[in-house]
Amino acid sequence: MTAIATPPPRSVQPHRLLCALRWGVSDTLTIARRTILSYTRIPEALFFSTVQPIMFVLLFIYVFGGSIHIPGFSYVNYLMPGIFVQTVAFGSVNTSIGLAEDLQKGLIERFRALPMARSAVLAGRTTADLCRNVLTVIIITAVGLIVGFRPTAGAFSYAAGILLILLFAYALSWGFAVIGLSAPNSEVAQVISFPLLFPLTFASSAFVPVHNLPGWLQGFATYQPVSVTVSACRALMLGGPTATWVLQSLAWSVGLLAVLTPLAVHRYRTRT
C-alpha cells in the first residue's frame, strides 16, 4: 500500500504549469467570446465603434476642415491618424462600463466561485476590446479611403502604424478596467471615463497642430500618449522621420501596461 503514498514524480510540475496556462488561455477566450457576443447584441456599443468614427470623419473634414490649414498636408491625410487614435480611445470606455456592469449584476461573483483562471475575466475582456478595435480600424481605413485619405508610406509601414494604435488601445483598456472595477456602478464608470478622455483626445495633435494651441497647453499636448501615438502614426502612414515618435509611443504603451495591468488585477482581487 506504500505505493499510493509515493509523491508524484518531479516531471509533474512543468506539466501542471502547462495545464494552468492552457486553461488560462481557454478561459480567456471563453470570456472574450462572451464579451464579443454581447457587443453584437447591444446596438449602442456597435454604434460607438462604427457610426461614431464615420461621423467624426465627416464632421472634421467637411465642417472644421475648411478652416484648418496644415502646411505640407491635405487635411484628410493629417486628420485620419488622429481619428484612429481618438476612436479606439473612446471605445475603451466600453471596458469600464462592461466591467462595472458585470460587477453590478453579480456575474463577477459567479466567475469568482468557478474553477476558472483568475486572470481570465480581465484578460478576456481586454482581448474582446482588442478584437473590436481591429474591426474599428478596418472601418476607419475604408471610410478614410472613400473621403480621400491617401497613405503614401507603403503597406508595411501602414500596418506598423495600425499595430501601434492597437497596442495603445490595449494599454488604455487596462486603464479603463481599473476605473470599471473601482466605480460603484456603470453610470459612474461612464461619468468618470469621459472627463479623462476629452483632454487626452482633444488637447492633442489629433485634429489640429499643437503649435496652434495656447502656450501653456503645448507641453502637455505634445508629449501626452495620444499625441505621441498620433504623431507616430502620421509619420508611419504618410512618411517622415518615424523613430522618435514610434519609440515614445511604444514607451507610453508599454509603460502604461506595466503600471495598469497589475493595478487592475489588484482591484479585481480586492474588490468585495
Binding site: D27, T30, S38, G106, E109, R110, A113, P115, T272
Partner: protein, 344 residues
C-alpha cells in the same frame, strides 16, 4: 454521516465608513446529502456566510471546509466541487439561455461535448428548451432564476449553494423552483440554502439555523424549532386599542408564549390551533369582546424572530414593540400590516 460543510467560529468585518460585523462567530455543520437552511432577515450574515463558503471572499477568522477542503487554502479545489446560484440571478442578459449555460460549462473546464449535452439536458429539465436561443433580456424573473440554477448545476456539483433562490418571485415560480430543488436533493446533492421565508426553509430544509446579527441563535429541525415557538399563530383583530389590551390578557393562557399586541391586532403563538381558537372565542364571548377578524395562520420568520429574540425582523428602530404582560402597554402605531412582506 460524513459532513459536506463544516464552519467553525467564522468572523467577517466589512470596513468602510460604517464598520459592519457581518459574521460574529458562526459555526455550523451540514451533513452530506441533506438540505441545510440558513434562515434570517436581511443583513443577518446569511449571504456573507455563503460568499465565504464559495471562496468569493475570505473570512477574518475561523475555519470553513467544503468536502474537507479548506475554503481559503484549497480554494480552487472547493470551486471545482460547488455550484452557486444567487439572489441576483447572475446570468448575462445579452447571451441566450443556452450560451449562458455553455459559458459556465466551459469555465468549469468540462469537455466541449459534455458542455453541449449538459446544456440541452438542463434547458429541458428546467422548462427553458423553447427559450434556449432567446437572449436572457426577454426572460421573466422566474425563467432567469431557473437559468441561474441550471448554470450552477452544469458541472454536476456535489455541493450546491442557493442564496435566497426565490426572493422576489411570484408564488407560481417559487413553487416551480421548489420542485426543482427537491428533485436535486433526491439525486444526493448537498444543498445549503439561505432564505427569509420560513415556509421555504420548512418545505426544503431538513436542518435549520436561524441567524441574527452574525450569530446562529437557534438550530434544529424545522419541527423542533416550531415546537419551541408554537406551530400556529392565532391573530385577532379588535375594534380598539383598549379592547386589544383586554384581549391580550384574556388569551394569555393559550400558548407557550405571551400574546403580542400590535396596534389593534393581538397575536399569540399556540401549539394546537383549533383548540386554542375555540378556547379563545369562548373566553372573548364571556367578556363580551367582539373581534373584527379572527385568523389562524402559519408562523412567519417574523414570528420565529419574535419568539427567539423578542424583536421583529425589521425592528432596528421599532423598540416600542414589546411582548405585553398582564398590564401590557407594548403598543405600536398600526402603520404597518402584521407580517408584511412574508409569503402566506
Amino acid at each position: 454521516m460524513p459532513h459536506a460543510i463544516e464552519v467553525e467560529s467564522l468572523e467577517k468585518t466589512f470596513g468602510g465608513k460604517h464598520e459592519v460585523h457581518a459574521l460574529d462567530g458562526v459555526s455550523l455543520v451540514v451533513e452530506e446529502g441533506t438540505v441545510f437552511g440558513l434562515l434570517g432577515p436581511n443583513g443577518s450574515g446569511k449571504t456573507t456566510t455563503v460568499r465565504i463558503l464559495t471562496t468569493i471572499i475570505k473570512p477574518d477568522a475561523g475555519v470553513a471546509r467544503v468536502l474537507d477542503h479548506d475554503v481559503v487554502r484549497d480554494a480552487s479545489l472547493v470551486r471545482s466541487r460547488i455550484g452557486l446560484a444567487g439572489q441576483y440571478a447572475a446570468v448575462d442578459e445579452n447571451l441566450t439561455g443556452k450560451e449562458n449555460i455553455q459559458m459556465v460549462g466551459h469555465l468549469n473546464h468540462l469537455p466541449r461535448r459534455t458542455v453541449n449535452t449538459r446544456a440541452t439536458e438542463l434547458l429541458q429539465q428546467f422548462g427553458l428548451a423553447e427559450a434556449a436561443n432567446r437572449t436572457v433580456k426577454t426572460y421573466s424573473g422566474g425563467m432567469r432564476r431557473r437559468l441561474d440554477l441550471a448554470a450552477a448545476l452544469v458541472g454536476r456539483p456535489p455541493v450546491l449553494f442557493l442564496d435566497e433562490p426565490t426572493t422576489g418571485l411570484d408564488p407560481q415560480s417559487r413553487n416551480d423552483l421548489w420542485e426543482v430543488i427537491e428533485g436535486l436533493v433526491g439525486e444526493g446533492t448537498t444543498v445549503l440554502l439561505t432564505t427569509q421565508y420560513l415556509e421555504e426553509a420548512d418545505r426544503l430544509a431538513s436542518t435549520l439555523a436561524v441567524v441574527d446579527r452574525g450569530h446562529v441563535i437557534a438550530e434544529g429541525t424545522p419541527a423542533t424549532l416550531k415546537a419551541q415557538m408554537g406551530t400556529t399563530v392565532l391573530e385577532v383583530g379588535l375594534p380598539s386599542i383598549e379592547t386589544a389590551a383586554t384581549t391580550a390578557r384574556l388569551l394569555e393562557d393559550l400558548g407557550p408564549h405571551t400574546p403580542v399586541v400590535n396596534g389593534t391586532v393581538v397575536e399569540v403563538t399556540v401549539d394546537n390551533g383549533p383548540e386554542a381558537a375555540m378556547t379563545g372565542l369562548r373566553s372573548l364571548d364571556a367578556h363580551a369582546v367582539v373581534p373584527t377578524t379572527f385568523t389562524l395562520r402559519e408562523p412567519s420568520l417574523d414570528d420565529v424572530f419574535l419568539a427567539l429574540t423578542g424583536r421583529r425582523t425589521e425592528d432596528e428602530e421599532a423598540v416600542g414593540l414589546l411582548p405585553t404582560g398582564p398590564s401590557g402597554t407594548g403598543v405600536l402605531p398600526a402603520d404597518r400590516p402584521v407580517g408584511a412582506g412574508e409569503p402566506r
